[in-house]
Symmetry: D2
Subunit: 287 residues, 4 copies
C-alpha cells in the first residue's frame, strides 16, 4: 500500500501541530505515523507524517502544492519534503576493496528488507565487481591514477556516473577516499558515510589502530552525512561493541565490521524512509 | 515551570490528532512534548501531550472538564488523564531484606533525579529501616507471621498503611512476597514490580538459578505492573547483561542487580511521568 | 602460521594446569593462547591451548598420541581434541527460503573472516541457489514432499549429501525444519542452529509473534547445538535488540534478523575455532 | 574462605605457565581461578592466579618470599603482587557535591557487594556528609579556598587525610578537581577516576555539553587510573547508553549518571580484586 511521507522543519511556535493536523484531516488524510520534536535550544520544530495515499482526495502533485503553502505559512518555504513510497529511492554505492558493508547491503536488498532501487556500484578496484553483478547490478570500475590529477579525474568520472542515476542516496560503503569539496556540496544531504570509529573519537586514518593504542574497552562505528569537514558531518546513527586486552588490532577490525555493517544499514534505512531531518550539524531521527 | 501532562487512549480513526491539537491550540496551549501511537492490530490510538501550565487561559480543573468532553467525543470517557507536574506523585515502597533497589531509588530521590514524594517504606524485615530513616522517610515494619493467616494479616496491615498515603505508585523494590489478588485489583495500574529475569524466561522463584542451569549467555530484569497472574503483568521496561560460563549463580545475582536497579528506576520514572499507557496486557511507553 | 588447538575437559583436581603446561613446555611448545575454567558446581575442569605448530619437535599425530596419554591420566580419555589450523574445518549449511543468515555467512566467508571450507549448501527450496553458486559453492536442492514419509525421504537424502562432505559443522541457517532424532544423534556436537528468540523465551514456532503478544521490550536470538529436545540444546551465544510499542511483528522480524545473523556468525566462529566445550547441557566458550 | 591472589607481568617467553603452575602445584596450591594473557605486540606476559589459602603448606609471607624468587627468575622482580582476600582493601573516596556515584558505592558497600574497607570520605563540600555518616563512615570536609594557593593548601590537607589511611584505592567519585602532579605520582596505580564521557571523546570540561553539540547518538563513561596527563590515564572500564535528538543536555546528564555509577563500580571492583594489570598506558583486566 502506497504512502506519502511528509517532513517539515520550521521555527517553533504554538499551533503548528494543529495547523498540520487540520490540513491533513481536512484532506481526508489517514495518518499512520506521526512524530514531532520541538528543540528548545534552537527553537526549531520538526515533524514527520505518513499518510495513506488512497485516503487523499487528490494526487501527489496537489498534495505537494498545498503542503508547500502550509510550509510557507509556517516560515519554512524550503524546509519540507513529500515523498511517495510507491517510488523506491534510487541509490548508488561507492566501494573500494573491503566488501563487508556491500555484502550486507546487497543481502538486505535481495531479501527485500531495504526498499530502494540500487542503480549502480562504483569501485576504485574490481574486487567487488563479481558479487555486484551476481545481484544483477551494474558495476563501474573507476581506477584512481596516482597524484592529485589522477584523483581529480577519477572523481570527475565518478560524478558523471553518479549524477546520471539521479540518486536519492550516495552510499560510501567503506570507500576509503576523501571526497572533494565540490562533490560534498553537490551531494549534500544525500551522501552517507560509515566511519569505523565512535566519532568524534579517532577521527582520520586507521581508527582501530588508534583505539588499540589508547586501550579503549569499546569500539564503534558512525554513519553520518558527508560534509566538507572530514568526519565531522551530522551523525545519523552510532553503535559500539565490547573489546578487551586480548583483542589485537585485527580482532578489533573484525568485531568492528559487525557494527559498521549494521550502523550503515540502519542509517541508510532511516535516510531512505525520510526519517532524518538535518538542522545545523545535528540530526533529528524519527524512529 | 509547571506543566500539565495529558494522556489518552481511544479507538483509532482519522482526525483525532487534529481534534486534540485544535483543542489545545484554541486554549492557547504551548505544547512542549507530543507523542502519538496508532496500534494497527488493535485499532487503538494513544497520545501523551505536555502543555505549559501558564500558557492556558484557565485552571487545571477547567482543563480536566474540557478534556473530558474531548475524550468522550473520541469514545474514551475513561481513557484519559491529566496530571500536574507541580504536584509530585506520591510513592510508597515495599521492601524485604535486599537493599540494592531501595538504595538506588533513595539515592536518585536524594539527588533530585526522580520527581516524587516518597511517603513511606514498608518492610517485612527491619534491615532497611536505618537507611530509610537516614533519608528522612518513615519506615513501617510489618512482620509476616507464619502460615496463610499470618500472611493475610500482614497484607491487611500493609494495605492500611499504603492506602493511607493515597499513593500514585506502589513499588515492590525486591519485596519477595506474592501480593494477594484483592490488593492486585485495588492497586491495578499503580503497583510496579521488578522481576529478576528477562520475562517470560524464568518465571517464578530463583530465576538466576534457573538461568544458570539453562546456561544462558545473558541475564535480565523486567519492570512490570503487578496483576493477579504472577509475573505476567504488562511489561514497562527490560534490560539484560552478559554473563558467561565463569559466572556462578552468585556472580549472576550480583551482575543482575545492576540491571534490576536501573530497569526499576527507568520503569518507575516512566510511570511517574505518565509515559506509560496500558492496553490489554501491553504497554505503550512514550520516551 | 599454523597452530594446533588443544582442548580438554576432565574431572577437576589440583595439578592439572601444571601437568599440561609441563607437557607442552617439555615439548618446546610456544603457547599463544591459554584458557582455563574450573566449574565448582560440577567439579569439572576445562582448558583450551593454542600452540605454534613450528615450535614442537614432532608432528601432529605424535602430539595427538602424547596428549591422549595426558588426557587419560587426567581421567578424560575421550574428553580431548587436537585440531590443526592449517586444515580449515569443513562446513555444510542447510537453508530454506530466508536468506539473511546465508548472505551474511557467505559475505564473511568471501571476506576471509571465517576460516572454513564451505563444502555445500542444501536447501529445501531453490531461492538461495543463485547466490550460493555466485560464491562458487555447490547447492543441492532437496524438496520436501508432503507428509511424514516425504519428510523422512528428504532427510535421508540430506543425510547422504551432508555425510559425504564429512563436515566439522552443519549449520542450520534458518532451515525451519525439525531435524529427526537420528540425525541429531549422528551430528551431535556438530550441528548448530540459530533460533529467533532469546531462549528459553518463546520456544517453538513464530517466536516474534509470541514476543509481540507478550509485549516484551527486547527481542533476541540464540545459537545452540541441536539436540533431540527442540530448542533446548546447549547454548553457544545469545544477544538481544531493543524494540518498543511502535514495532509491529514485521519490524521485530526485521530487527531480529540483525541479531540472528551476528549471533549465528559468532557462534559458528567459536565452534570452528574449538572455543566451545560442552558439558551436560551447558557450554564453556573461551573467548 | 580466604584466598591469595597472585598477579604477575613479565617479559614473554615459553615455559612461564609451566614454571608458575609447577611452583603452585608443588606447594599444594588449589587454584580456583587462573587467567593468562600474552601480548604479542609488546611481548609481555600477564597472569592472575587465585589459590585457596588453606591449601598451602606455608603462610602468606613465605608465599610472597618464594613467589618473589619465581618473579625474579622470570625477569620481573617488581612486576608481581600477592594479596590476601581475608584482609579487605582499604579505600578512601573523594567527592564534591554530586552524590550519585557515592550513593551507589555506599549502597553496594552496605549490601556486601564490594569487599572493601571504606576508611573515609573526603569532600570539598558538605552536601554528602549526612549520607556518609548514616553509613557509619568518617567524613572530612576540606574546603577549597580561591586561587592556586587555596587549592594547594586543600590538596596538602587531603593528602594527609588520605595517606593516614594507607589506602589501596583512592576513588574520585565525581570529585571535579584536577589532582596535582605530585599526588598523581604518590597515588599512581591506586587512584581511580570516573570520567563522564566515552574517552577519548570529549576530554576536559562539560563533556555532556560537548556531546550534545556534536549530536552523538550514545553517551558514555570511563573509569581510568589517574595520571598527570588529564583524562589520558590507563582505561579500566567503559560503557555507553543511547541518547537521541529529544534528549536535552540535562537528559544526557541524567542518563549518563546510570552509566557513570556502574562503570565506576565495575572498575573499582576489578581494581580491588587485583584483576587489573597496567602495562604502559593500557590495562589487562581479567574477568
Amino acid at each position: 500500500m502506497a504512502h506519502y511521507v511528509l517532513t517539515l522543519g520550521c521555527p517553533d511556535r504554538t499551533g503548528i501541530v494543529a495547523r498540520i493536523a487540520t490540513f491533513l484531516s481536512n484532506a481526508g488524510g489517514w495518518i499512520t505515523e506521526a512524530a514531532y520534536h520541538a528543540d528548545a535550544e534552537t527553537n526549531w520544530f520538526f515533524t514527520r507524517q505518513v499518510v495513506r495515499a488512497d485516503s487523499l482526495a487528490f494526487p501527489l502533485e496537489e498534495l505537494r502544492r498545498r503542503f508547500a503553502q502550509v510550509a510557507a505559512e509556517l516560515g519554512a518555504p524550503d524546509g519540507w519534503r513529500v515523498s511517495d513510497t510507491a517510488r523506491p529511492p534510487r541509490v548508488v554505492m561507492l566501494v573500494s576493496r573491503e566488501g563487508h558493508c556491500l555484502y550486507d547491503l546487497l543481502g538486505r536488498y535481495a531479501g527485500g528488507e531495504l526498499a530502494m532501487d540500487v542503480r549502480a556500484v562504483v569501485g576504485n578496484h574490481t574486487a567487488l565487481e563479481p558479487i555486484t553483478r551476481a545481484h544483477g547490478i551494474a558495476f563501474h570500475h573507476v581506477p584512481f591514477a596516482p597524484g592529485a590529477q589522477g584523483k581529480r579525474a577519477a572523481f570527475d568520472e565518478i560524478r558523471k556516473l553518479v549524477d546520471a542515476e539521479e540518486p536519492d542516496a550516495i552510499v560510501l560503503a567503506r570507500f576509503m577516499q576523501i571526497v572533494p569539496p565540490d562533490l560534498c556540496e553537490a551531494w549534500a544531504g544525500r551522501m552517507l558515510n560509515i566511519h569505523h570509529s565512535f566519532l568524534p573519537s579517532f577521527i582520520g586514518a586507521r581508527p582501530y589502530h588508534q583505539a588499540h593504542t589508547r586501550g579503549v574497552k569499546l569500539v564503534g562505528a558512525t554513519c553520518h552525512y558527508v560534509t566538507d569537514d572530514l568526519d565531522a558531518g551530522p551523525i545519523i546513527e552510532q553503535d559500539v561493541i565490547r573489546v578487551d586486552h586480548s583483542d589485537t588490532v585485527a580482532d578489533m577490525v573484525r568485531k568492528g565490521r559487525d557494527i559498521e555493517k549494521v550502523v550503515l544499514a540502519r542509517g541508510l534505512r532511516a535516510h531512505l524512509e525520510d526519517r532524518v531531518l538535518v538542522h545545523g550539524n545535528r540530526t533529528v531521527v524519527f524512529h
